[in-house]
Symmetry: C2
Subunit: 573 residues, 2 copies
């Protein structure tokens, strides 16, 4: 590809809205652009990387006996009602009505649709096992999309589904998929770890997540640097050490009402009262499918809804709307507190060591200071209720924790979908049995982002060659020198002939700009032709991840470059 | 691919819900399955054909300088409001609100999003012209989806957009795309015709549609068998011949009210009164952006809303809802009539020759018989208001008309989107100018369906080889004969080694089943190995579109087959 005929709009500056490095670099390198919250357009080189990941996935899935299909993005509500998820999926399921007033949703996943297909088309043990997959966009209406394509609303996913006659078969299928996923991520050049995970909205008995080892951020797993402990954020246990909170209980001061006009958020209240968030307790009203509860949590902590849901053995948990908050607390949003509250109260373990803290007053524009448990209100249950965060220690060995990101997830589903949807088969004796399922997902663009999280430096991305937008960049530095241009054109053509994916930087810009963009784009191999080197019958070759450059003879350059590309593929895996 | 490890659920019977041959055959051959109205899952071989069309499109678009991107399916309402289409697109634009109550829609097309990208990233004449395209699913909430993937709601489309500095450049880009489209459809092995078309919801000054020549049905163009006249259904003029309606006006009978209890549809009323639909006049109330009108049309005809919209110079036209109908006519839906109606009345030309017809009574359960124009009501305007239909003659030369289907559409847009969205550039003199656009679409799955419409016989599909799910089918007839199996396996492997796309029918079923399925699937080349031929050191080769079979020596069979595949590619174009 000729740079001048292509579209790679790069930025010099780091975009302020991007918090993590992959998001910053994908914007800067012109891989993606945001259309609206959590929804991105893939620009040419972003799409190229995505397609390379897709092709690796497709090859490995086919090799493992996967059969590719393509299911729709718009699903009728009926199917989701049949499986029971219409009521329990929560607000991430985007629902709407079509022009004929039929309820439908944008698919966040496809268990219902593939199970519907199977129940219609598969009736005998002779047709099993079967393994379907697709590469299709999904939509999950995340409440807080962030980190670019790492956690967005519309995203490209490879999802796969296995169907077996019994548990033993399902275990085998699961194991094949787990190995296939390992091969896929290896081929993408990623360093990863497989950890036990919470099964979330997908459900089932057991699941494991493929996590990329990278730096801090959200949407991650935690692994212990000392012991073998690893878990995803939703499941990671928080170790409660009494010595880490305000150790011995201070003398209790009298409960006092204070005016906090229009101060609702932790930030507003703490800054108004000149206290730290650690001295405040948030009271969050949650509604489950069975009851209303209050979750009490320290001002600097966040409630882990998965933990709350599991603790309450609820099918769904969501934050109460303003109407319910008013009903329960007698006050508008922002002033809820535990004193005098009539609903069940669950407190995070961190509250055990706290004294004289600030809480909402259950009255508009009012908070309490010097609130204390037992004296002022009774906690029904203390539990590990919060999201683990940097600074927390390993729940097993107190070691340092590291935070990483998830790119793939494999689930044993059992009969969670096949039973309500009645996907059955006749066994060898003519008896009807329920099909056993597994489900498997890979975030395609997220895999690209994870590779960038794992491979970059201060100058830009350092792509593993199998998923790099281009394998080789050819930089002729002086376009006014016909020898330089001719040599570059010849190398470019020879590489293209050998099916090498080359970007020829034929732009009439300063050498510095070409070098900067080549580094930013992270092309694994950079070939530079300058007036000086060409006169000497040479060109410069540099591997993006290495510091050294070497000069090689122009005459045999293509062969050397092609070999180097092969070597890079070898070392990527 | 081994048939036994794959998923091709075929039917023997023609599904009753499918009206056109491509829909019937795609269901029967296991290419697609319906999920809900106008929404389909692509099964493995359906997806294979789709991907082959996509690859041809991609190669030809890239060859013409197209740059591939991937835009989201969910669009924020703001952009559509900026372009003005939020109000004018009608009900095909599926709108919804996300969890944060933001208005959004499922994209039926991407002019807004690509123009938004261009206005942000392109600022200088040096960056123009540019040609972006994507292959992405679209959603159009069709009121009456039918014909399988020929007219569905969720569909895969290649859409492209050109951006030029002036009209001359835009004309050149348009011409390049027109030629590219011709090459694409040629490579897909389709016979097609390019005709002038109505620009519809996309808009712009001029558009042409690529129509596949095939048999009757809807969603088509009409071409004259005698002269050069060709137009799409929306634009096709209906020739009004006085001698084709009830020629001379009968003597007028007195207007009479009759009771028609709960008879609302043309079918109900005509069967109740024992008349033909040609003796009834439908009165349809339409609401435009400016006024309410009644359209009068013969019972067996259909209103062409595009013609009505153009006639009224309206931005939008839609059927009135029951409330408005009641307000205008004083009666519930199903009983509207022209007698005593106060709104503007437009009548189709066919009414000119009618006398003593049946109309609604503007009262519940009442119709009039022996209604006549002039005497009973005054028509404000007669016009060509209806959809052309089989039996109509060429408006130019009265020749026979043929009906065909559209698979691609190219539009000159001018500044329809770039002006409201302010997509501008600085010219060589530093002056700000508005970018000139073109837009281009291909229905990907529709192209597959069109190929089937054009190429089939009573036994099934006859795919053009470039888009066939498989290029070659190998049929070992007796699996208990090890020589047959060994020879088939050898041929299979040799063909795979040469990158031929082969289906090995290794199922343990009767030869008749294998032959029937091979014909149904329409694989261009069928290789048969039987006990008898293998003993003679031969196999049988048959081209799907030809009647004759020939025997060739087993030893050199692969080379012969590979050559035959090449020949078929040659003759497909």
């Amino acid at each position: 590809m000729r740079y001048s005929k292509y579209f790679i709009p790069t930025y010099k500056e780091t975009p302020t809205e991007a918090e993590v490095i992959s998001h910053q670099l994908m914007l800067r390198a012109g891989m993606i652009r945001k259309l609206t919250s959590g929804v991105y357009t893939f620009l040419p080189i972003g799409l190229k990387s995505v397609r390379k990941v897709e092709n690796i996935i497709r090859e490995e899935m086919n090799r493992s006996g996967g059969i590719e299909v393509l299911m729709p993005a718009v699903h009728p509500a009926e199917l989701w009602k049949e499986s029971g998820r219409w009521d329990f999926y929560g607000k991430e399921l985007l629902r709407f009505r079509d022009r004929n007033n039929h309820e439908a949703c944008l698919a966040p996943t496809h268990e219902e649709v593939i199970t519907d297909l199977v129940r219609r088309e598969i009736h005998s043990y002779k047709q099993l096992p079967v393994n379907f997959y697709q590469i299709q966009f999904k939509f999950r209406d995340e409440i807080r999309p962030r980190f670019g394509v790492m956690r967005c609303r519309e995203f490209i996913m490879k999802d796969g589904y296995t169907f077996d006659i019994d548990e033993a078969g399902a275990d085998k299928s699961y194991e094949i998929m787990r190995r296939t996923y390992s091969r896929i991520f290896q081929r993408c050049g990623l360093k990863f770890k497989v950890v036990e995970a919470d099964s979330g909205s997908i459900g089932g008995s057991f699941s494991q997540e493929f996590m990329v080892l990278a730096e801090t951020g959200e949407d991650q797993i935690v692994t212990c640097s000392k012991c073998e402990y690893a878990a995803n954020m939703e499941r990671a246990e928080v170790r409660w050490d009494v010595d880490r909170s305000s150790s011995s209980r201070e003398s209790l001061k009298p409960l006092e009402e204070v005016q906090t006009p229009n101060m609702r958020t932790v930030e507003e209240v703490t800054s108004f009262l000149s206290i730290s968030p650690q001295e405040l307790v948030k009271t969050l009203i949650f509604k489950t499918d069975r009851q209303v509860v209050a979750a009490l949590i320290r001002g600097d902590h966040e409630v882990n809804e998965v933990k709350l849901k599991n603790l309450l053995a609820a099918d769904s948990v969501e934050l109460a709307d303003p109407g319910l908050v008013a009903e329960v607390t007698g006050a508008p949003m922002g002033f809820a507190g535990p004193v005098g509250l009539k609903v069940k109260m669950i407190a995070d373990n961190a509250l055990k060591g706290m004294a004289n803290f600030v809480t909402g007053g259950n009255k508009e524009d009012v908070h309490f200071i010097h609130t204390n448990t037992e004296r002022d209100f009774i906690v029904d249950q203390f539990a590990d209720l919060r999201v683990i965060m940097p600074g927390d220690h390993c729940p097993r060995c107190r070691g340092e924790l590291q935070f990483k990101r998830g790119i793939g997830h494999v689930f044993k589903l059992g009969t969670k979908y096949s039973k309500p949807l009645r996907a059955v088969y006749l066994d060898q004796n003519g008896e009807e049995k329920v099909i056993i399922m597994g489900t498997y997902g890979i975030g395609v663009a997220r895999t690209v982002a994870a590779a960038i999280e794992q491979n970059h430096d201060q100058d830009g991305m350092i792509f593993p060659i199998p998923i790099a937008p281009f394998e080789v960049a050819v930089l002729p530095l002086q376009l006014y020198q016909s020898e330089v241009v001719a040599a570059a054109e010849r190398i470019y053509t020879e590489l293209l002939d050998q099916k090498i994916d080359v970007l020829l930087d034929d732009r009439d810009v300063r050498p510095g700009v070409k070098f900067k963009d080549a580094d930013l784009l992270g092309t694994p191999l950079r070939i530079t032709l300058s007036e000086k080197t060409v006169k000497e019958g040479k060109l410069e070759i540099k591997v993006r991840s290495e510091r050294t450059v070497s000069l090689i003879p122009l005459a045999s350059a293509s062969a050397v470059i092609i070999q180097k590309v092969k070597d890079l593929y070898g070392s990527a895996e």
